[in-house]
C-alpha cells in the first residue's frame, strides 16, 4: 500500500535531497568530497547547456528573440519587486535587501533540472530550447541587485570590470553558455556520440547532486534560528509570486504549458551558486548567511518538493482560464 502510494505520488529525484538533509541532521558521516561536487556541477551545467543548444539549432532566431527579451525583462522585474518588500516589510538594510533580491532575480540550475524531470515523467511537452532562458535569467538579477545596493552615489565604488568578469566568465556562465554554443554548432547529429554520457546519465548525476544539496542545506539550517521569521515567510511567498509572473509571461510570449511551467520555476528559483559568489565581491557589506539561508535552506527545498507541482496548477489556471 505504502509502496504503491510512493510509486504513484513521489518522484524519486527530490527524495535524494531529503535523504541528504536527514543524513546531515542525524549526524551521519556521509560526505560528498568537494572535488566530486565540483565535477557533478560541471557535468550538470554542460549537459543542460548542450541540450538547450542542440534544440536551439532547430529554431528560428527571429521567433526566439522577442521571447528572450521578455524573459530578461522578467529577470529585471523580480528583484525590483523583492527589494522594496525586503526593505519596508522586512526592515533589512539596503545592502542585505539588495543582495537577497539579487539572489531571487537569478536562477537555480538544479531546480530547473528537477522541473524538466517533472515534465518528462508526466509526458508533458515543453520547448527544449528553454536552457537558453536559464542562461539569460542568470545575469539580470545579479546586476539589478548590485545596482540597488549602490544607488545613491556609490556607483563609482563598484569595480565593474572585475564584476562583469565574474558574472560573464564565472564557471556557470562559461559552462552553460559554452554548452549552448557547442550544442548549437554541432546540432543533434553532431552530439549523438555524446548522448550516452551527457543525456542518459543525467538523471543519476542529478540524484547525486541533490544528495549533496541536502547535506549542504542541512548544514546551513542552523542559521534559521537567527534569520528571523520574516525571511522564512519571504523565502516561501516570493517564489510563488515570481512563479505567477513567470506563468503569465510564458503565456504572453506563446510558450506551451510545459514551457511556461519551466519559466515559472526559473522565476521562482533563487540562485545559490552564481549569485553568492558575485554578491560577496560586489556587496561585501551584505551578510551572505541571510541570502544563502533564504535561497538554499528554504526556497530550494520548497521549490523541488512543493513548488513545482504547485506552479503546475498555477500554469493550468493561467492556460485553462
Amino acid at each position: 500500500m505504502l509502496r504503491s502510494i510512493a510509486q504513484e505520488r513521489m518522484d524519486p529525484i527530490p527524495l535524494f535531497f531529503v535523504l541528504g538533509f536527514l543524513a546531515r541532521l542525524t549526524r551521519s558521516d556521509l560526505k560528498i568530497p568537494a572535488q566530486l561536487y565540483e565535477a557533478l556541477s560541471i557535468y550538470l551545467l554542460l549537459a543542460i547547456g548542450l541540450k538547450g543548444g542542440m534544440e536551439l539549432a532547430r529554431q528560428d532566431a527571429l521567433h526566439i528573440l522577442p521571447q528572450a527579451v521578455s524573459v530578461m525583462g522578467l529577470g529585471v522585474l523580480i528583484p525590483l519587486i523583492a527589494f522594496p518588500v525586503l526593505r519596508r516589510l522586512g526592515r533589512f538594510d539596503r545592502f542585505n535587501a539588495a543582495a537577497i533580491a539579487g539572489h531571487y532575480g537569478s536562477v537555480s540550475v538544479v531546480t530547473f533540472a528537477v522541473a524538466i524531470d517533472y515534465l518528462i515523467a508526466r509526458g508533458s511537452d515543453f520547448e527544449a530550447y528553454m536552457p537558453l532562458f536559464l542562461v539569460l535569467l542568470e545575469m539580470p538579477g545579479i546586476a539589478i541587485g548590485i545596482l540597488l545596493a549602490r544607488m545613491g552615489g556609490e556607483l563609482a565604488k563598484v569595480r565593474w570590470g572585475a564584476l562583469g568578469h565574474e558574472i560573464l566568465f564565472g564557471k556557470s556562465m562559461v559552462l552553460l553558455g559554452g554548452g549552448l554554443v557547442i550544442g548549437w554548432v554541432a546540432g543533434p547529429e553532431g552530439l549523438s556520440p555524446l548522448e550516452p554520457f551527457f543525456f542518459s546519465l543525467f538523471k543519476g548525476v542529478l540524484c547525486l547532486f541533490l544528495l549533496e544539496m541536502g547535506l549542504v542545506a542541512a548544514s546551513q539550517a542552523a542559521a534559521l534560528r537567527t534569520s528571523g521569521s520574516f525571511l522564512v515567510a519571504f523565502a516561501v511567498a516570493m517564489p510563488v509570486v515570481s512563479a505567477i509572473l513567470g506563468s503569465i509571461v510564458g503565456a504572453l510570449i506563446g510558450l506551451s504549458a510545459g514551457g511556461a511551467l519551466l519559466l515559472a520555476t526559473l522565476a521562482a528559483s533563487a540562485s545559490y551558486i552564481a549569485a553568492p559568489a558575485a554578491m560577496r565581491i560586489a556587496i561585501p557589506e551584505a551578510n551572505p548567511g541571510l541570502s544563502i539561508t533564504a535561497a538554499l535552506v528554504i526556497t530550494f527545498p520548497f521549490n523541488i518538493l512543493i513548488g513545482i507541482p504547485l506552479y503546475d496548477r498555477i500554469v493550468g489556471l493561467v492556460y485553462g482560464g
Binding site: A34, Y37, E212, V216, S219, A222, P276, I292
Partner: protein, 105 residues
C-alpha cells in the same frame, strides 16, 4: 650554527571569495610570492566547512621582509576586516636564501 636568516611570515585565513583580489593586493604591496591552501574551520562567522562554493576558506602564507608585512597587514585590516571572515597574523621565522623575500622595488 643555524644558516637561517630572520624573515616575516604573514598568514591570512579568509573566505576563498576574495582570493583573487587578495593575491593581487599582496603582490602589489611588494611580496615576491605567496602560497594558498584550501582549509576549513570555525570562528566568529560560524563553521566554514568547505562543503561548497560559498562556504570555502583559504589560508594564504607570505614570506616577506618587515616593511612588506606591515603594508600587507595594514591593507587587509582596512580593506577586508569589516565585511569578510578573516584572520591575519605575523610571525618571525628563519629562511634560507633571504634575498628571495626582500621587498620588491
Amino acid at each position: 650554527m643555524s644558516n637561517t636568516h630572520p624573515c616575516k611570515l604573514v598568514v591570512i585565513i579568509c573566505e576563498s571569495a576574495i582570493e583573487a583580489s587578495l593575491s593581487d593586493d599582496v603582490m602589489r604591496l611588494g611580496a615576491h610570492g605567496y602560497t594558498v591552501a584550501d582549509v576549513r574551520g570555525q570562528g566568529s562567522h560560524g563553521a566554514r566547512s568547505a562543503l561548497w562554493g560559498a562556504d570555502r576558506s583559504i589560508r594564504m602564507e607570505i614570506l616577506c621582509d618587515e616593511t612588506t608585512s606591515v603594508a600587507i597587514v595594514a591593507h587587509v585590516e582596512q580593506a577586508y576586516f569589516r565585511n569578510f571572515a578573516m584572520v591575519a597574523y605575523v610571525t618571525d621565522v628563519g629562511v634560507l636564501r633571504p634575498d628571495k623575500f626582500q621587498h620588491k622595488s
